[in-house]
Amino acid sequence: MNKVPETTSFEKGVDAMKAQIDARVVSYLSSCVRCGVCADACLFYTETEDPRYTPIYKTEPIRKVFEHEYSFWGKLGARLGLKRPLQESDLADWETLVYDGCSMCSRCSMVCPVGIDIAYVIRKVKEGLAAAGYCPDDLVHAAERAIQIGSPMGVTAATLRATLRAQEKECGLPIPLDVEEAEYLCLLSSGEIAGYPEFIGSLAKILDHAGVSWTLSSEYFEATNSGVQLGSTPLARQLVERIVDVAEKLGVKTVIMPECGHAYSTLRWDAPNMLGRALPFGVVHVLELLETLYADGRISIDAGTDARLTYHDPCNISRRGGVVDAPRRLLGALAPNFVEMREHGAMNWCCGGGGGVSANSRAEPLRRRVFAVKKRQLDELGADMLVTACSNCRNMLADGLEDHEMNTELIGLTELVAENLVSDEAGSVPPVNPSA
């Protein structure tokens, strides 16, 4: 239990959950038959066999609020002392279930026989827990840094500039910064800047090759949204507004979301609803852009790797984002030995670190344990190379591969595209050297 003193209030939590009960939630909370099918779709259940990790069980707090506040039997039962309404101790219990034992991957939402989008309801529970102050310290601190510094990891504009200079040397190209009226603004995740800066050089190489007008922003560059991970729409909205402000100030037409899962699904699908209006610019995931450039003939890529290669779908890019085909078209061109995991695309298994789990140090032992499902998938396939398109997934996969002493090579898809760019006239474009 980690209470945040300035926001702790059981009533606030209950009120926040009540405010989430719209028509869709009423339908979901009323239709569950408690069949338990969702359990087998959740890696936290399959790898622990602890029934408390059953996805629909994680929604119990809001179900109790709904039943107590809105249902006839709930009200009657509470009055007669037959039904126990939600209590503050429940919030403490569900804090660990929801923040440590759910990566918001939505696999459960794909399998419920009555059609409940369980992850959607868990997200509503998070609103209540966050409002009541029952959330992990690590996520709270990350959100504080995001609000105060502009990055959940504390990456500053000075760090960004230094990283860009290093990447300019690596790729031999100038990287545009704060260019007004560019067609595209590319956001970055702090995880990329700190851990995988070669993504930036790779993107510069590809966009230069395609003749795309683009820029980065030093004023606000962060793509991730700590408010979403925490479950706080007010915080999430603040962070989204910063992106909208900087995109409008630069006058760009489209914002490119980098290799970060929740960043894409948040800006593409959730941000307009947080703001209550359509965004004044388009949003595209970097893989969608690369695939469009490839399909339009603006970049050429070579089948440059013979490795037996597979692709890990980041949940927020594929299942919750809708970007399933673009990476496969690119990989089809890049790798003749591209093979799919048995469960892939919209039914992929999560890396275990989504939904803020990776940023929650308390959840680390559990997160490492549930990686077993990904290990099984990789063992079954015998792949030499694992490609993904989310820096958070990449960190989780790197951890898991290391834990299990697996020799599978891990790489981001944008880098793989950059490494295999083909110049129309002069042969292969020189590869970007990863600055590990």
């Binding site: 028509a23 339908s27 069949c35 069980y57 026989p113």
Partner: protein, 213 residues
């Protein structure tokens, strides 16, 4: 007024009224609840989102083995239940006399009994699963058990009353069916109606993203 007259008369009309009004009320609750406007730009693949209303009748390929028990016994129970309700001779005669004024083809009584046994067995297997599997035992409420046991009792009394030679058995069966009608709108039996909006909401949400849910 005797018990039989009460069950045949006022209680029958009362239970039907509670069922109709209760179901309508539960559905209206969803219709009148605040709905959120969707502001995100629609994916070019958005069509077909509502297909989830139908696609969820079958488990996804990836879940077939894990959910075979629930789907297998669940299908057997639901299909046999509908056959009993729609084609049982005694049921059709009851509908003709009390509701519609006309009848339709019915199945022979020996088949009715066979289908009843299958239905009863399937529901019993589901009930045992609910009570014994750690996941469903944790999730299940008293209402879930009450609903299942009530249906079992309705079916059991129905089979016993089928030849209609023992009037008390017929009255007991009708009484239990009326209790079921009264209970229906208040418990998870409402999934019989609510699966439609739930699947439609989810199908539309994922459909906007180009994902077939």
């Amino acid at each position: 007024m005797g018990i039989a007259e009460l069950v045949d008369g006022p209680l029958w009309y009362f239970s039907v009224a509670v069922f109709v009004v209760g179901v309508a009320w539960r559905l209206a609750r969803i219709i009148v609840a605040p709905a959120r406007t969707e502001f995100s730009a629609v994916s070019s693949h958005a069509a077909g989102g509502a297909a989830a209303v139908f696609s969820r009748f079958l488990p996804r390929r990836e879940m077939r083995a894990a959910s075979a028990y629930q789907y297998g016994w669940g299908y057997l129970f639901h299909v046999t239940l509908f056959i009993l309700l729609l084609f049982g001779r005694v049921h059709v005669e009851f509908y003709e006399a009390r509701i519609f004024g006309f009848s339709w083809v019915t199945m022979p009584d020996w088949l009715f009994l066979l289908v009843s046994e299958l239905s009863f067995a399937a529901l019993l297997m589901l009930l045992l699963y609910r009570a014994m599997e750690p996941v469903t035992r944790l999730l299940s409420t008293r209402g879930d058990y009450f609903g299942s046991i009530l249906i079992l009792l309705v079916m059991l009394s129905g089979c016993m009353a089928m030849d209609q030679t023992a009037e008390p058995l017929r009255v007991i069966h009708l009484f239990l069916a009326e209790v079921l009608l009264i209970w229906f709108p208040f418990g998870s039996l409402m999934h019989a109606f609510l699966f439609v909006p739930s699947r439609a909401y989810t199908g539309a949400w994922f459909g906007r993203r180009g994902i077939a849910a």
